[in-house]
Symmetry: C2
Subunit: 496 residues, 2 copies
């Protein structure tokens, strides 16, 4: 049987193809109906799960990764939905679409098209539960921000400053008013997807947090079968958005009812059901999950000491994303009140140690609209400095920063420095304020140097060309950095 | 045989009694003559070693610790010096003389008369090797400073910014120009003692560093027998100064030629020869000496992370003195260029974790006169803030600060806090900048609170009396502290 979607519009590479089908409404379609499809292009076959979207509508979503014609056949235990075939053309992606992010070169990331991806994350845990008005403000703020990743929960949040009920809830209710954990609420997930799509258009990765402990509704303590069905449902619905990352939890180790086996199982379910193998991790409170387990793609860390970044890189040989290093703000909780300067300092420290640092903001607000959870507008002073760091990184001649030593005749191993040996060095002095650095640069190379004031956001070129043993004068202030670019062969010729 | 000193002037308690004797000049008195004395008062006997001071003069120094009449008898393998007896009256100490410092209550110090001693140390490694003019400038600077302990080397220093030769050297020379390690140079030690005495009169403890690795003269690599004779000679000469502490080394683990057994032996020699059991420790570069060994009285630590203070306290149950946490300055070396703000921050952090922090300063100077080594004048901005901290401590109602949790309804265990349960709390927020703290104060008590700006050196009283569950507004700036004083019973009555 040929579906209505048999002749589809062209979908761009890493775009979202959606097959909508009519099917049974009776019974409990969430439990009773199994649905998936085989999408094939030449010898490549991808089999995403479908899902019930209410009102007799079933959908299967698919993200093609190769241009050309893709054909599909549905599979279902319901005759009405089984054996539906069709095809659609996949065309090359538009310039702003680089595909999903994957791990590249052990400790780094890139988009599927090879463009380096340097995560500059922020945190708005419950922003999709605040209603359209505030959510649209949040989107505008994000659009004007340096952030290209956001940590956000599927489930609503119950916590200090978070007492409001969400407009939508993920499950249906029984006549008694209790949750019917066998029925999802499609509106809830449609809304979630809308927001994931908004982020996609802004070029922002949605780091979707599947469980978290801050709960008054019972979503943190569901039965295992409900957890598992929920995971499969979320994956079926949103995995085809190219900007999705999976975070099994925020502070998994505060969810005392769950065992380590539960976390392993969640990872495995997501790993098995997501045909695109989006990035997977889990965020800790005090105890790290074992990031060495094979289904963990990168380290999602809560920790205040960014100096440990090198250690974590070496320990697991996976990218280090310090998603939470405390937030800029002024609430009483210690994790939510570091100064903007300290936040910027932590960004620089983690970055020049070869890791990636995440932002959050928790300034007290008369209506309890704190960015870290609800979004809204940003009040702090760190984001513009983070944007300045991002600009420096985007202009650096290397695609990733790996730790190395500043080539110095003064023992300099304690100043974190990153780059690519010989080519490029970015060294950050933090609370140290040397008035001078003695360099011992690689033989035969010449370098262009710049002094960076990370707080004032000023870049001052060093007038002299640097080579061999040389001395750089610095302003003797804290929070300074220097970068050294090797002159290209032709620049040297031009100069000569 | 009765000595000329048989009828002596009164010496105050913990003052210095010196018996000077004429004896043989021929041969090598440093090697050949053994000399000591038994000083007794009632049933107490103390036996300090004597020493040869050149020109046929032998001396025995003694610090009496009990008022009353002390009598003595010398002992020597030289008849001329043997069996000399005498006595002197010891009178109560003058008000500024509190005796030597000892360990008190596991992690703290007090003077022998019971006055709490709160070390506020600084570092001028080679100040006694700079000649009288600069040394007198250093003494004036110290007199105007908050510092009550100074780390100083016996041997001269060879290092960056330290290329000048000292006016005196510790050993004599052979005709060949080589050191005669069998003969001390009395002038060198007389000069050292003069400076220890200058410090004593300023109320400053002299933390005397017996060995260090920064050497071009051979003093870091002497034979064991020379090391041991040197230690006995130094102890004989200066142990009777009440303000002496013994530090076996600066950065002992950089002295590669010495074994752990050597360090143990040095400790034991000093322990056996010093009748007053002055404080003993050893300062590390990277690896701590085992502070658990019984002859170590306190921990002398080089480390940048003051947050570990609690751990070190608990590990060894001895006072934690972080003698080197980097220095305020601007030299290229990472250990010598933290900002004044960071130095003050580290002082506060270590202090409210129940430890004691040391200062040093390394600003580049046209004549290489850096305080950390040569003394001179202070250029930095941390000492006046350290003086402000010292003032707060001196006014606190408790004699020592032990870590405890701020009594708060917000989890506050990450804000270092110290004091005495119920009585007094001093809590420091560091890079955290809460705009408000929710307190949950011990039932039935009422507190007077103050907000402290550790950098601006301002103390702002909290107007309301604090009790039970209450909220304190804070300025939402980093580097703030609060202190809470329990009202005395009579104050409460007065208020009622």
């Amino acid at each position: 049987m040929e579906s209505e979607q048999g002749k589809s519009e062209a979908i761009e590479r890493w775009g979202l193809f959606e097959l909508s089908l009519r099917g049974p409404e009776e019974g409990n379609p969430y439990l009773d109906v199994e649905l998936s499809a085989r999408f094939s292009h030449k010898n490549r076959v991808v089999s995403p799960d479908g899902f019930y979207d209410g009102d007799g509508i079933y959908r299967i979503r698919f993200m093609p990764d190769t241009p050309g014609t893709w054909s599909y056949t549905t599979q279902s235990n319901c005759d009405e939905l089984n054996g539906i075939t069709g095809n659609f053309p996949c065309v090359e992606s538009s310039p702003e679409n680089h595909g999903p992010v994957t791990v590249e070169n052990t400790n780094h990331f890139s988009y599927a098209d090879g463009t380096p991806y340097f995560p500059i994350g922020t945190t708005c845990y419950a922003w999709v539960h605040q209603g359209d008005e505030l959510e649209e403000v949040t989107l505008r703020t994000l659009g004007d921000s340096p952030f290209n990743k956001i940590r956000m929960c599927v489930f609503p949040k119950h916590y200090a400053y978070n007492r409001n009920d969400p407009p939508y809830q993920p499950f249906g209710r029984r006549d008694t008013g209790e949750w019917d954990f066998t029925r999802f609420n499609p509106e809830f997930f449609q809304h979630l997807e809308q927001r994931v799509g908004n982020l996609l258009r802004l070029g922002i990765e949605a780091d979707i947090i599947l469980f978290h402990p801050y709960d008054r509704w019972g979503f943190a303590t569901m039965h295992a079968a409900v957890d598992d069905r929920y995971l499969r449902y979320v994956v079926a619905r949103v995995a085809a958005y190219r900007n999705v990352w999976w975070s099994m939890a925020n502070e998994y180790d505060l969810m005392r009812e769950k065992s380590m086996g539960d976390w392993d199982r969640y990872f495995r379910i997501v790993q098995e059901r997501d045909p695109y193998q989006h990035l997977r991790s889990v965020h800790n409170w005090h105890e790290f999950y074992d990031h060495g387990k094979p289904w963990v793609t990168h380290q999602s860390i809560q920790h205040s000491d960014l100096a440990k970044t090198n250690e974590w890189r070496d320990l697991y040989r996976k990218p280090v994303v310090v998603d939470e290093c405390c937030y800029e703000g002024n609430i009483p909780q210690h994790w939510g009140n570091i100064s903007a300067q300290e936040m910027v300092h932590r960004f620089w420290e983690g970055t020049v140690r070869g890791g990636y640092v995440g932002h959050g903001e928790t300034y007290m607000h008369p209506e309890d609209i704190l960015w870290w959870s609800k979004g809204g507008v940003i009040h702090g002073q760190s984001p513009e400095r983070i944007a300045f760091l991002k600009k420096i990184l985007s202009r650096s001649p290397v695609e990733r920063l790996d730790p190395l030593d500043l080539p110095s005749s003064t023992p300099a191993e304690r100043y974190p420095c990153a780059g690519t040996e010989d080519e490029y060095y970015l060294c950050y002095f933090g609370v140290h304020q040397p008035a001078v650095m003695m360099l011992r640069l690689p033989e035969g190379n010449r370098y262009r140097g710049e002094i960076i004031d990370t707080w004032e956001m000023e870049i001052t070129p060093i007038e002299e060309t640097l080579e061999g043993e040389c001395t750089v004068e610095l302003p003797g202030k804290p929070y300074m950095a220097i970068q050294l670019h090797k002159f290209e062969a032709d620049s040297v010729l031009r100069e000569v």
